[in-house]
Symmetry: C2
Subunit: 311 residues, 2 copies
């Protein structure tokens, strides 16, 4: 059994996008096993347990990931993760990966895959709501699949937006108002908001939205009216109903499960697609365990681990 403390160090973003896209294709073809993630609530946060088996890569395993919003006050990341890999043939644990930054990258990759298939065009203005680690991962991953003519970023804290823009300067990034960030071709929302912050009237026809932030019951970022103007694709229906962008509208009867247009796996496999340039599309991301197995597979090939005694 090997432990990988730093498995993300040499990963190529386009390679990550590729393996995550392949995992979504397997999902779209019904060739994975992945029960919906389990949530356990802790005093100041929660942790999620995400098992899966991805036969195409010969990978089985579990990601364990917490969300503790107050962690930065004690010098820890809000989100930390470990992935445990098992040999599918024998069930023997073969690898443990520090998956904190892998989680950022594989979530960025899901957004990139959605943007690749659902963006209205290849040259895009990218709007970004939020300036945390996930916002940055989304920009870097999406830049691999689209030509970003401009990146418009908004944060509740304008200093954060300024430093984000400086960090991502190669992409012609500017700090703007929330409304202005929504004036784009592809909008990425990455906040932990529990009230809608993106207003319906700010979203023009043809926009693709990657709704990333909502990943637990009670979280939402978009005015539910936008869902009714849009075709909504999810990563996994059960997870999206429980904890995705659509979870609050569903619980309030403002949206119905049957209204979803399909899964990203169905989009990647050509079973569903954007039908015309003027429609609004939404990808509701909750994060799939198969994304974690896919990036772990890549990382294990490249990273240096340390051997641990097991039996």
């Amino acid at each position: 059994m090997r432990y990988y403390p730093d498995p993300d160090r040499d990963l190529d973003i386009s390679e990550v996008n590729r393996v995550v896209e392949a995992a979504f294709a397997e999902h779209g073809n019904g060739r994975v096993q992945m029960p919906p993630k389990l949530y356990v609530t802790l005093p100041a946060g929660d942790f999620r347990t995400m098992p899966a088996y991805l036969p195409s890569l010969g990978m089985a395993g579990v990601k364990i990931v917490n969300v503790h919003p107050d962690n930065p006050s004690v010098g820890l990341p809000t989100v930390m993760a470990l992935t445990v890999i098992l040999d599918p043939a024998t069930g023997r644990p073969t690898a443990i990966l520090n998956a904190t930054r892998l989680t950022d990258m594989r979530t960025g990759a899901a957004g990139a895959v959605a943007a690749k298939y659902l963006a209205p065009k290849k040259d895009c203005v990218l709007g970004v709501i939020g300036t945390g680690r996930q916002a940055e991962a989304q920009v870097r991953a999406t830049a691999q699949v689209l030509s970003l003519t401009k990146v418009r970023v908004w944060s509740r804290d304008s200093a954060h937006a300024e430093s984000f823009a400086a960090r991502l300067a190669p992409f012609d990034t500017e700090s703007v108002s929330l409304e202005k960030a929504c004036d784009c071709d592809v909008l990425v929302t990455t906040t932990p908001s529990r009230v809608p912050i993106v207003k319906d009237e700010w979203i023009h026809e043809g926009t693709h939205i990657n709704a990333i932030g909502a990943d637990a019951p009670g979280k939402e970022e978009l005015d539910p009216a936008i869902l009714h103007r849009a075709r909504v694709f999810v990563d996994d229906p059960a997870q999206a109903f429980h904890s995705g962008e659509i979870n609050v509208p569903i619980s309030r009867k403002l949206y119905e499960p049957w209204m979803i247009a399909g899964t990203l796996g169905e989009v990647v496999t050509g079973k569903r697609k954007r039908d015309h340039a003027d429609e609004i599309t939404i990808f509701d991301s909750t994060g799939l365990a198969i994304q974690d197995l896919a990036i772990a597979s890549l990382a294990i090939q490249q990273a240096t681990g340390m051997e641990l005694p097991f039996l």
Copy 2:
């Protein structure tokens, strides 16, 4: 974050029984969080993912455990396990334990706790069906809480029964027929059987049965007629309905969920009990994640681990 390759080495069985009993008491008082374990099927077996939070011990975490019946043919145990421990305050991973033998011990402890409260008397003849690692763990744990006047063991392979009897010689152990093994005060069943092997007519009034072997859909060891003569206690209702001794009878409408008499946690906390010496009682064990957290808590206090870089 520390890794413990050998955390069971210095564990005292009576201490394990004590912490596992305390965990059942917390469960009986509704003071734990523990979603039912998730099963993922692999080509030659499965793995189970078991998250929980046990506030009384300040322990949160996940056990990951496989079952691969053909593993001995490649020199590996059928069952192997890892437990990942998180700090409940921040969600940070703090420990990873090789939990293969811890799993044996905490399952043995559950049987011992059930026997302590549900055996018809303190001086008991113990019947044991099966001679694997779990059979041995059950005898050693139960010997801490009852005086075993005799141990009667049966295996499909009589050589296995003979060597088991020799290994456990201090307990006056003898290899007997299946029927004779059932002639006892406390019967422990530990096989992976998918057809009932214990006949109704072999079980006399007053017997307590620890039904340990059935831990996945399709497995059963007891003639369902025994369930109707007995009061059945489970570790966790949802897990027992899905994968315990009662799973097959329930799926065949030979038993109904409402018929269970309660949980072991309710027994430990005095809410339920054996009502008279002549009744048959059954403890249907599926294995709880809180048992794994309890034994991990004890192991971490005593074992030597190795520090791993994490952040």
